[in-house]
């Protein structure tokens, strides 16, 4: 284990439970105990991408009651002694469905839950994995991001999910913070976790299964689903250049098909973000306002991506906000 690894106490978890209780008292729906009320979801249909490496490919969708929050890819890696989970989905129910998929494949204990970043569709399933002996791991900036956004994400769950699914869903902050790199030993199998500088978010973390060369990129890689910008467009473009040089067997994007060739899988995202930055710069230079730019930029990418209408304008706004300071 190298790099700065910081232990965070169980105090956080206790505090979160208190927070949930307080929310319940304030009129929100119940805390984690409500999990029992959630109708079980069928085990997530996972694919074995390489020996011991499994992932679920989510549909391109927004969180809504029918999908119960299962809109981001999630996965797990099985070692000789233990299992590591990579992202947990957008609700407690999805986390439980992932756990059911794991149980259908192995009886080994889940020892690690790795969150690739703060977005709710990737980590609101954490609650289903909370148990003695399970360690939650995230980027060094994940805890802070969660502390700022967690309440908003839970509130949002009540708008997006059925009441029982929202009620069962809780925030579980990381126990271990990765500032640089960290290795997880699953017994005869090592996962390499790497914290990245601000790109998709300010807390992107990737997971490489060294044995098979399978790289879980989280939302640093979007395929098919329009990339969403919540960090830094310049940082993301720069990080893509670094990521592209890596020699890996296959990658798993945060959204899109599983087990893709690298770096070929990166090409569409790179094109979109590069063109977005160029076009927004032109708009700024031409004296167009943020709203004018939002209406004009990226339209030639409209047919290339799922959920384009839902996120392109917001990407323009985020890019404009960043690039006007250049």
């Amino acid at each position: 284990m190298s790099g700065a690894v910081r232990r965070r106490g169980a105090a956080l978890v206790v505090a979160t439970a208190l927070a949930a209780a307080a929310l319940a008292a304030a009129g929100l729906r119940g805390p984690a105990a409500g999990a029992a009320e959630t109708a079980a979801m069928a085990p997530l249909p996972v694919t074995e991408l390489a020996p011991g490496v499994f992932a679920y490919q989510a549909p391109y969708a927004l969180i809504a009651p029918p999908n119960r929050g299962a809109i981001a890819n999630v996965g797990f890696v099985v070692g000789r002694d233990a299992v590591a989970v990579i992202d947990t989905g957008g609700s407690y129910a999805v986390g439980a469905a992932l756990l059911a998929a794991i149980r259908a494949r192995t009886d080994l204990p889940v020892r690690w839950v790795v969150n690739t970043h703060v977005h709710p569709d990737h980590l609101l399933g954490n609650g289903a994995f909370r148990a003695p002996g399970v360690t939650f791991v995230g980027h060094a900036k994940l805890a802070r991001a969660l502390s700022q956004r967690g309440a908003f994400y839970l509130e949002q769950s009540h708008r997006q999910l059925d009441p029982a699914d929202a009620a069962a869903t809780v925030i579980v902050p990381p126990d271990v913070a990765v500032a640089d790199r960290m290795e997880i030993d699953l017994g005869g199998r090592t996962l390499l976790l790497e914290a990245h500088p601000t790109a998709h978010t300010d807390d992107d973390l990737t997971v490489l299964d060294a044995a098979t060369g399978t790289w879980f990129l989280g939302d640093l890689l979007f395929v098919g689903h329009i990339p969403t910008l919540d960090g830094s467009i310049l940082g993301w473009i720069a990080e893509m250049d670094r990521l592209a040089g890596r020699d890996v067997a296959r990658v798993v994007p945060g959204h899109g098909p599983l087990g893709l060739a690298w770096p070929e899988a990166l090409a569409p995202e790179r094109r979109y973000l590069t063109r977005l930055a160029e076009a927004v710069r032109s708009e700024i230079a031409a004296g167009r306002t943020m709203s004018e730019a939002a209406a004009r930029v990226g339209l030639d990418e409209a047919t290339a991506w799922a959920l384009f209408d839902e996120f392109n304008r917001r990407n323009v706004i985020a890019a404009y906000h960043e690039l006007e300071w250049e």
Partner: protein
Amino acid sequence: MLDDRSAAVRPGGDRAVARGAAIRGAAGTEAVPPASPPRGRAGGALRRMPPFGAVLVGTVLAAVLLAAVCVRSGVATAAETLPPDATWQAIRGDIVGDAAITDGEGIVTVGAPYRADDAAVVPIDIAATLPGGRRVRTLTLVVDENPSPVAATFTFGEERPTLRLSTRLRINSYSYVRAIVEADDGTRYMTARYVKASGGCSAPALKDEEAALANLGKMKMRYPPPATPVPTAVVEPDGKPIMAQVMIRHPNYSGLQMNPVTMLYIPARFVTSIEVSQDGERLLSMEGGISLSEDPTIAFEFVPKSGDPLDVTAVDTEGSVFSGAFPLSDGAG
């Protein structure tokens, strides 16, 4: 994926809109929200602004409860029928007192998205050309449904017949956004636009807090070229106007953002005033609050009095003062 701050990605909201559209279609008419309220004295319901924390906590709880109720019961009835401006009627007296208000349609335009893409950063473009030789004295931006409805008030040192100003606001829920332009003879013109947004005040826009705090107070001035030419019919007796965009790095913490672990609100800290002057004379001053987005920015049109730099001074709630001088040539073009 990120989150649903955009009204467009609210499943519940979309359902309501679709239903509303169907109803309007059946009636064969397009429902247009009223642009301005009836004239006259506002009702007695004054919305005082109690101490910050108290009102914010209450509002957030109320909003959360309301959201929980509304979503399950088919969302905002306001989206299906015409959104009433009852809130405005209640707060009007606090904002303009008994003053008469003239319908600003055709005089004051409010550029705002019908659906906000990011409720924490909603770009607003205001333009006005006053009739009858009147000149613009102040501009007030109001977001009816925000916890603190007056987003900002701008006072122009240089009174001109036209106004162009752009800024970015947080919008907490479906709301009218109003621009009230006060002329030098006291006439007030008001135009309102309905904007669908949610969570703008409670959602942190901060994408990288470390960078944001490290840069707090940093300022920049841009002199963007006019993207759209000023109408030639407008007489500019005082010279040729140019645009200036003041930008200040500041998280503008709204006080509505909660830490779920401690259950404490992140304390409010925001820019309360910005003043731009040239040669010691004020061009523009702004008084604002939590509705201004992170990294507050104001782009405005003015006629330079000379070739001298613009001086900018901003103050936040902690009393921090940020200032800078920006030569007109810098960043021009």
